[in-house]
């Protein structure tokens, strides 16, 4: 008994420096940023030794989401959501595909693995500059067809002003409810086989009711903005997504490859003996076993995509609404326009969105560990 408490004391003392440092430099500064975001620190005189800061509550957030001048930020936010989703699909899909190909142990597998993983080791500024040149309007990819005697392409990879999937920010609440009901229906369909009663009662029916309700009575919902403001997926972001997928699919490939190698050969032989085809083996045996890897890849990529800064800065520079990202806006608002409070508010919004992804993951990890 005594031995145990002594051990605990030792452990606590060993951890104490880390606890204090993390407390100050992580949580302390998160708190400081939250506080700053609720003041009016900005404008002229904001860089003096004793800047004037007054508490203004949530005014900065209000400005960002409903204000006249926050339009740029709202577009960036919408952009970041599309960017994250497409990056996840692209990087996880391509990574998985390459991993399956390499898992079949083709000739030169080790060389190919290194080649595919290589982009990971480049800094974003370097790969951003390379891709900027590749996607330049009168160079790179667009002149490739001329080598085989065809007309050059004129697609504007990074400067297109076209947008698809546009929606009016005024209808934000309605759209959020649609998304929620869509997710609920999907979850319901997914659970239908394993637990059909729960799926129908808990997910399918409420999801359909919610969606129908939003469709029928959407007009009753308050409008999120006093004027019409269209936001959508800007086609210029496609170039940035290509570059990011190129850089990160090698990483997801390595994750999956490690997972495939961890599956014992016996299991594979057993599946083959039972008459499973190659496709069947991956679909029903290997990939379901790699669910934890998929989850961690999604978590890591989603928070990387929310923090993406250098790649976009190198590829399209500052002040480019077509490819904007809240992280870029945060930097420009804070350090160029000297608006520290507003910059802090953007930082906190990004922090909360990242938490949306990570906290459920941490909670489920914690529960799993508790069970063992």
């Amino acid at each position: 008994m005594r031995e145990a408490s002594r051990d605990r004391l030792k452990a606590f003392l060993t951890l104490l420096p880390s606890i204090i440092l993390i407390g100050v430099f992580v949580y302390g500064f998160i708190g400081e940023t939250i506080w700053t975001s609720m003041t009016d620190w900005g404008g002229s005189g904001s860089l003096s030794l004793t800047p004037e800061k007054n508490f203004v509550g949530l005014a900065n957030y209000d400005e960002l989401f409903t204000g006249f001048l926050g339009g740029g930020f709202r577009q960036d936010l919408v952009n970041a959501v599309y960017y994250s989703v497409l990056l996840l699909l692209g990087a996880v899909g391509l990574g998985l595909f390459i991993a399956i190909l390499l898992d079949r142990k083709p000739k030169g597998e080790d060389v190919l693995r290194t080649i595919f993983l290589f982009p990971m080791s480049l800094s974003f500024i370097v790969s951003g500059t390379i891709w900027r040149w590749l996607l330049a309007p009168q160079g790179g990819l667009n002149v490739l067809p001329t080598y085989v005697g065809m007309e050059p392409l004129s697609y504007q990879w990074l400067s297109s002003t076209a947008a698809i999937l546009e929606f009016n920010w005024q209808n934000l609440f309605q759209i959020l409810i649609y998304v929620a009901s869509f997710v609920m229906i999907l979850t319901g369909l997914w659970m239908l086989k394993s637990n059909s009663r729960r799926a129908v009662e808990l997910w399918l029916i409420p999801g359909i009711v919610l969606g129908a309700g939003a469709w029928l009575f959407g007009g009753l919902l308050p409008e999120a903005l006093f004027m019409e403001e269209m936001h959508g997926f800007n086609m210029a972001t496609l170039g940035i997504i290509m570059a990011t997928v190129w850089q990160y699919s090698g990483y997801t490939m390595a994750l999956y490859l490690a997972g495939f190698n961890g599956i014992s050969q016996d299991l594979r032989d057993a599946a083959m003996l039972d008459g499973a085809s190659e496709v069947g083996y991956y679909r029903h045996v290997a990939i379901p076993m790699l669910k934890p890897i998929t989850i961690s890849a999604v978590i890591i990529l989603s928070h990387i995509s929310l923090k993406m800064f250098d790649l976009i800065f190198a590829m399209t520079g500052p002040d480019n609404a077509e490819t904007g990202h809240p992280a870029l806006t945060m930097y420009l608002t804070t350090f160029r326009a000297n608006d520290f409070a507003q910059g802090a508010a953007i930082a906190i919004v990004l922090f909360l969105i990242a938490a949306l992804f990570i906290v459920p993951y941490l909670v489920s990890q914690y529960r799993q560990r508790g069970r063992h």
Partner: protein, 425 residues
């Protein structure tokens, strides 16, 4: 007694040694009062083409003050975007460089003077007689009622339209004096497969806006806009945005992927007819492209702004609390001197702020700019930090992005007014 005598002798010898040592130390100290030592850190965003010009100035400083170690701290990035962010962290960290480059005007005043971080340079201006040699209008724009805050080194003109005379002849058009002239020839150029006006990334469109607004509003209203007497969302203000919208119909759509040099290249290659850019474009064509001013490339004040000189200036200031203040003041003296100014500007491709400049050292374009600077109405540039503080200029870029998407002049003008309220204009 003998023992005591020995001690006395030794003590005397020690005192003598100390006195001699003190004497030896003090002689060079008094002699060095005029000879500067230590370090001088110069913080700027002058790299690339402007690097040699800065080096020429540093060479002058070094011959005058051989004892000073000069640190040339450069943070590259067009228009100083990155340099200004680095500077802010250094100033906030209590480690200011001895002297830093800054756009003269509200960019310096709004950010650093209002924060009480700069030293008043009025005594230096009086001592060196600079109040006589710099134009009065300029001193007003770089100072406040509390003092003068920086030494202007270069003067650039913002409202210039560039073209290639031979190309215009080929297409049978003339350089437009007003935007109506431009609208008259633009469809013809477009039909011939030539882009009437080339533009590039975001800031170059801000740059175009200020030339267009100066024409649309007139110089008096332009000044009234920045002193808060004229509202941005007044009919005149909306008119300026509407005119910009009309002009943008005749510009290239891949603008956001291009640098300003690439937009100038479009004019040089004959893919575009005109380009509105500051007169660093003359430096680019003269120095990098080896083109003769007046013959290979031509220029005109941007439509409707003949007789107005929209200026911007690079200047250096003196932050409070620097380590080697004397070194910094000696540097500012070099910058403001006739020799320094006439060494730096011909290489950089700008004109001197001094009225007694030696024009024989400058090329033909710069001679014409200097002549205009002497007689034209001088107004401050927005895109390059003279007219408004950083809160406004930073937010203006995102309003421009919104305008490029929506093309809604009234909305943009209203957003500008909100921004002006926020920025305290």
């Amino acid at each position: 007694m003998k023992f005591l005598g020995g001690i006395m002798k030794k003590a005397l010898a020690k005192v003598l040694i100390v006195m001699v040592a003190a004497l030896m130390l003090s002689v060079p100290l008094t002699a060095q009062a005029k000879e500067l030592t230590g370090e001088l850190e110069i913080f700027s965003w002058w790299a690339g083409d402007e690097g040699p010009a800065l080096q020429a100035l540093i060479d002058i400083y070094k011959t005058q003050n051989p004892g000073v170690k000069v640190i040339n701290a450069r943070v590259t990035g067009g228009s100083g975007v990155n340099a200004r962010a680095v500077l802010k962290t250094r100033m906030l960290g209590g480690e200011p460089p001895e002297s830093f480059q800054v756009h003269a005007g509200q960019e310096l005043i709004g950010t650093w003077v209002k924060s009480d971080r700069m030293e008043d340079l009025t005594p230096l201006f009086t001592e060196m007689g600079w109040t006589e040699v710099f134009p009065e209008g300029l001193i007003k724009l770089i100072g406040t009622d509390k003092g003068i805050w920086s030494v202007p080194v270069t003067i650039h003109r913002s409202n210039v339209m560039w073209y290639i005379p031979a190309n215009l002849k080929k297409w049978g058009v003339e350089a437009p004096k007003t935007w109506d002239d431009f609208f008259a020839i633009a469809p013809k150029l477009k039909a011939a497969g030539v882009m009437p006006l080339s533009i590039a990334e975001n800031w170059t469109i801000n740059h175009l806006w200020e030339s267009v607004a100066l024409d649309s509003l007139g110089a008096d209203n332009w000044d009234a806009l920045w002193s808060g007497k004229l509202k941005f969302d007044s009919p005149e203000g909306i008119e300026a945005w509407a005119l910009l919208g009309k002009i943008l119909e005749y510009t290239n759509s891949d603008a956001s992927s291009l640098s300003w040099q690439q937009a100038t290249d479009m004019v040089i290659d004959g893919r575009a007819a005109f380009n509105v850019m500051g007169d660093w474009a003359a430096g680019y064509m003269f120095t990098t492209k080896k083109m003769a001013p007046g013959k290979d490339f031509g220029w005109i004040a941007s439509p409707g702004t003949g007789g107005d000189f929209m200026f911007l200036a690079d200047s250096f200031g003196l932050p409070k609390g620097v380590k080697n203040r004397d070194n910094a003041i000696a540097w500012l003296k070099v910058l403001g001197s006739k020799e320094g100014s006439d060494t730096f500007n011909p290489i950089k491709g700008s004109i001197s702020a001094r009225t007694d400049t030696d024009l024989s050292k400058y090329n033909d374009y710069l001679k014409s700019a200097a002549a205009d600077f002497g007689k034209d109405r001088v107004v401050g540039s927005l895109a390059h930090g003279v007219a408004a503080n950083e809160t406004f200029t930073g937010g203006f870029s995102s309003i421009m992005e919104m305008f490029l998407k929506s093309r809604n002049a009234e909305f943009a003008a209203k957003a500008c007014q909100q921004l002006a309220n926020k920025a305290g204009i």
